[in-house]
């Protein structure tokens, strides 16, 4: 029998993907555990662009088996390549014991053990784990409220309506069928009478009567109305809600001299996180960067994070600018999120109060959610106090403070943690 050659190279890939999914399930808690480290170690930045996926080190998913303790017992082994040994020669065991020192891993051995490996998961998979316990602020609200736009959609026909919605074709069809239906009725009658008139035995009186009747029906047949009220059909429209799938995220940061590199770095990571989070929820996201010292300015990302300014701090202009941008560009159809990072410095207490007021009276009504983070400050600032008062009544304003990279994830989680359903 000849050999059967099977070329499998073009078979679909991913034969082991169900096993991979099972592995992911198995190690999901380990992946989640690794997330704070990933946030801390600057990888979030890569995440926003990386197409390759995320590498996650996994430890301790071993498969225990009964085995021997290598140090115990009296054993004999055979090795190849004897050069100098004679029977009776002795070789001192290496201090740590074990299998002749080779093949055995010392504590400093850089080689990775079998039970410690790296799994690469796609960006989408990662985000699922990343935000597993989190949800968008007020998911319910989002479902109801983010459906802010309506579209008129054709929904059949109706008998009533305004003349501009008259459906001519449909109405004309109705009219034709009505005319035909009534016409047939009269035709039948006329035919009947004509049949009767053919009968020669009729008296002249009867003939007169029938002829009159015939005339009547002939007149009626001609006078069938072209259009009747019942023929008219109007296009019907209904309002359909459409979910808004685009979002805009405002990043507002204080770049006055008091914000150092470290503080900016923390803010940047936080913005990244928020951005990642939103990418999971919305198809399209725009980011608006506003930085401010004494004046506010809309900038691009690079400038936002990298250029230095000096001088004092006035916060209000940035919020005013945001208000203006919303009005100009994002007044409808947009889910609006805002994140403000600051060290809490304000020009004076009035500035803080002004900010609080513009939020309360204007901005918070338009936007889905606003986050204020205060970085690297032990003492509560005026801005913090002022915002605190506002957030008591407005659940879509959240404030948090971060002093160190390691706290970013916790604070973020706290903002978005799943609420227990009421």
């Amino acid at each position: 029998m000849g050999i059967n050659i099977v070329d499998k190279r073009n078979n679909p890939k991913g034969k082991s993907s169900p096993n991979r999914q099972k592995l992911l399930k198995r190690i999901s808690h380990k992946i989640k555990k690794a997330i704070p480290d990933i946030v801390k170690n600057n990888n979030v930045k890569d995440l926003t662009s990386s197409k390759k996926g995320v590498k996650i080190p996994v430890k301790g998913i071993n498969e225990p088996q009964f085995g021997y303790d290598g140090k115990s017992g009296n054993k004999k082994r055979v090795h190849p390549g004897n050069k100098e040994y004679s029977p009776g020669d002795k070789v001192r065991k290496p201090p740590s014991g074990g299998e002749g020192g080779r093949g055995q891993k010392g504590s400093n051995d850089p080689t990775v053990s079998e039970d410690e490996f790296t799994i690469t998961i796609s960006r989408e998979e990662f985000l699922d784990y990343f935000f597993d316990d989190l949800e968008l602020p007020d998911m319910i609200k989002k479902h109801l409220n983010s459906v802010v736009d309506f579209k008129q959609k054709r929904a059949g026909f109706s008998n009533a309506g305004t003349p501009n919605r008259l459906n001519v074709v449909k109405s004309y069809k109705n009219s034709m069928s009505r005319q035909m239906a009534t016409g047939i009725f009269f035709d039948k009658k006329i035919k009947e009478i004509e049949e009767k008139l053919k009968d020669k035995s009729l008296s002249s009186e009867q003939v007169d009567k029938l002829t009159k009747e015939l005339d009547k029906y002939k007149k009626m047949k001609v006078s069938v109305n072209f259009m009747e009220e019942v023929d008219l059909q109007y296009n019907n429209f209904e309002k359909f809600p459409i979910p808004v799938t685009s979002a805009v995220m405002f990043c507002i940061m204080d770049v006055s001299a008091s914000m150092g590199e470290r503080e900016k770095d923390i803010a940047k990571r936080f913005f990244m996180l928020l951005y990642l989070f939103l990418t999971k929820q919305y198809e399209r996201i725009e980011i608006v960067f506003i930085r401010h010292h004494t004046q506010a300015k809309e900038v691009d990302e690079d400038e936002f994070f990298n250029s230095r300014e000096s001088g004092g701090t006035i916060v209000l202009p940035s919020l005013q600018m945001m208000d203006k941008i919303i009005e100009d560009r994002y007044s409808s159809d947009w889910n609006i999120y805002a994140a403000q990072a600051s060290d809490g410095d304000v020009w004076n207490t009035n500035d803080a109060l002004d900010c609080a007021n513009i939020l309360k009276d204007k901005l918070l009504k338009q936007i889905q959610y606003m986050i204020y983070i205060e970085i690297g400050r032990d003492r509560r600032s005026d801005l913090w106090e002022a915002y605190g008062v506002v957030s008591e009544n407005k659940p879509n304003l959240k404030c948090g403070r971060i002093n160190d990279n390691s706290e970013i994830w916790d604070v973020f989680k706290d903002f978005f943690k799943k609420r227990v359903a009421v």
Binding site: M1, G2, I3, N4, I5, V6, D7, K8, R9, N11, K13, K15, S16, P18, N19, R20, Q21, K22, L23, L24, K25, R26, I61, N62, E63, P64, Q65, F66, G67, Y68, D69, G70, K71, S72, G73, N74, K75, K76, R77, V78, H79, P80, G81, N82, K83, Y85, S86, P87, G88, D89, K90, V91, R92, K93, G100, G103, E114, F117, I119, T120
Partner: protein
């Protein structure tokens, strides 16, 4: 096709399916005429590296049920491969009928011919003829069985949830090595036979009754020993015992245990025949390709490449080399078979003394086939490792006693050492050298149904205590009641127990 055309075809390092078909015609003829190989039909699959990694993670099963451990192996192998820390084999062959072999797409023509001779004829012959494979595996049914297993597992997942299925499978995998039969189980005797046996026993006792026995005083021990254990004889197949005797398991859980057990049984011969199986395949490819060359199908360039690859396959670093990781089974197996051929054709006095049946018998191919059919690693080495091979490989034996601070070199390649080296090496292929001997010892059916496992130490070796509690508690999950592991049938010497958990 003419010989010259074929020669030209094989000297081109790019191949196509015609190359393989033509080569197979020649190789199958040589395999039959020259070596007398008897093989299953071949299914020769060309695969990519990704597909080869898939095959790796299933450790030699054509298909398998889904489980995370296969995913883990895949991930580990893939990352090793990508980093260049691991090369992929040129081929991977499966014990099935037809015999499936996976062959890497980037093999050169020379490598394709080598793996064709090696796997599709060498291993294939071994699978079909070795006694262990004949006894324990069903090459024609494995694909169907694993298909059934995969469907069954996924149906169970749908019905009972994947967690419940995974729990059973995880526990089974931990003691998979204790899910194999090493000997055929005796048939259950029929009730009638049992009654007859009992009758005969009573009759015998009546005939043999002797008053003098009553005068012998009874010891205390007697009363204790009279309580019969269950099972009467220790059971080495722990998974089998649990499947058949666990009080609480549901039908589907028993079936899952059975699936793991069957899989383990399928692999049982492979673990016992690494040296002899690779030796058989390596010797086969060496003979076949050389014969092809003798017949004039191959040019010099091809043979240079072949010899280069062949010597890579049987490369054996010395014990002091940084590349040393134990004896290379390809090398050892090939050397033994090759030396047997030598002594069959050109025996020395030493050969005549050590192997009187083989030395000078001229039927080296028949000898080769006889050994392939009837031996496993342990017996193969014990029987056929010749002094010349011990000398050539400069094998030596070290003794490692736990309470000594030294390794002692106890035997080397000299007249006094040959037998000891051979015996010692053979012992290292004994299954109990790597799997501790643990068997089902007793079940307390009158009490809390504790399952007692017994560990019998060999050479004073202790079980690694690191994982022991996890494994015992997983066995206990399968069993449904407490499990205790004791040592040397000593109920006081408890290595691990789940008592108290329940």
């Amino acid at each position: 096709m003419t010989k010259d055309k074929l020669k030209e075809m094989f000297s081109n390092s790019d191949w196509n399916s015609d190359t393989i078909l033509e080569a197979d015609k020649i190789i199958s003829r040589i395999a039959k005429e020259h070596l007398g190989l008897d093989t299953y039909p071949n299914q020769f699959e060309i695969v990519t590296s990704e597909q080869m990694l898939d095959a790796y993670s299933l450790i030699g099963l054509p298909i398998s049920y889904n489980h995370w451990k296969f995913g883990k192996d895949f991930v580990i192998n893939k990352s090793k491969y990508k980093k260049g820390r691991m090369g992929l084999a040129y081929e991977l062959v499966i014990n099935s009928d037809p015999c499936i072999s996976y062959n890497m797409e980037d093999n050169t023509t020379c490598l394709m011919l080598l793996v064709l001779a090696h796997a599709a004829y060498g291993h294939n012959h071994f699978f079909k003829n070795n006694y262990l494979f004949k006894q324990w595996t069903h090459a024609d049914a494995i694909v169907d069985y694993m298909l059934f297993a995969r469907d069954y597992v996924s149906k169970c997942e749908e019905r009972y949830g994947y967690e419940a299925v995974e729990e059973v499978l995880d526990a089974c995998h931990m003691i998979m090595n204790y899910g194999v039969d090493k000997y055929t189980k005796p048939q259950k005797i029929s009730p009638k036979k049992e009654r007859d046996r009992l009758k005969k026993r009573i009759e015998d006792e009546r005939i043999l009754v002797d008053d003098i026995w009553r005068t012998i005083p009874k010891g205390d021990k007697d009363s204790k020993d009279r309580v019969e254990r269950f099972p009467k004889q220790p059971e080495e197949n722990i998974l089998y015992f649990i499947e058949k005797n666990s009080p609480n398991l549901k039908g589907w859980q028993r079936e899952l245990i059975r699936i793991v057990r069957k899989t383990a049984q399928y692999f049982y011969p492979q673990g016992q025949t690494k040296v002899i199986n690779e030796g058989c395949a390596t010797f086969s490819h060496y003979e076949i390709i050389n014969k092809m060359s003798d017949e004039g199908y191959l040019d010099e360039g091809f043979m240079m490449e072949f010899l280069h690859n062949h010597s890579n396959v049987i490369f054996q670093p010395g014990h002091d080399s940084q590349f040393y990781s134990g004896l290379n089974p390809y090398t050892l197996g090939f050397n033994i078979f090759n030396d047997l051929k030598r002594m069959s054709l050109n025996p020395t006095d030493e050969d005549k003394e050590w192997f009187p049946d083989i030395a000078g018998n001229k039927d080296w191919a028949g000898t080769f086939r006889y050994i392939v059919e009837n031996f496993k690693d342990e017996t193969f080495v014990l029987q056929y490792l010749s002094p010349k091979v011990i000398r050539d490989m400069r094998l030596f034996e070290i003794t490692d006693n736990e309470d000594s601070r030294y390794y002692e070199i106890t035997s080397i390649h000299n007249k006094n050492g040959y037998k000891q080296v051979r015996k010692s090496l053979s012992d290292t292929y004994n299954r109990s050298t790597y799997y501790p001997d643990i068997q089902v010892y007793d079940v307390d059916f009158d009490g809390d149904r504790t399952l007692t496992l017994n560990y019998t130490p060999i050479n004073n070796k202790q079980i690694d205590s690191g994982n022991i509690d996890i494994i015992i508690s997983n066995i206990s999950r399968l069993w449904g009641f407490p499990v205790t592991l004791i040592e040397s049938e000593n109920a006081e010497d408890i290595l691990s127990t789940t008592k108290g958990i329940f």
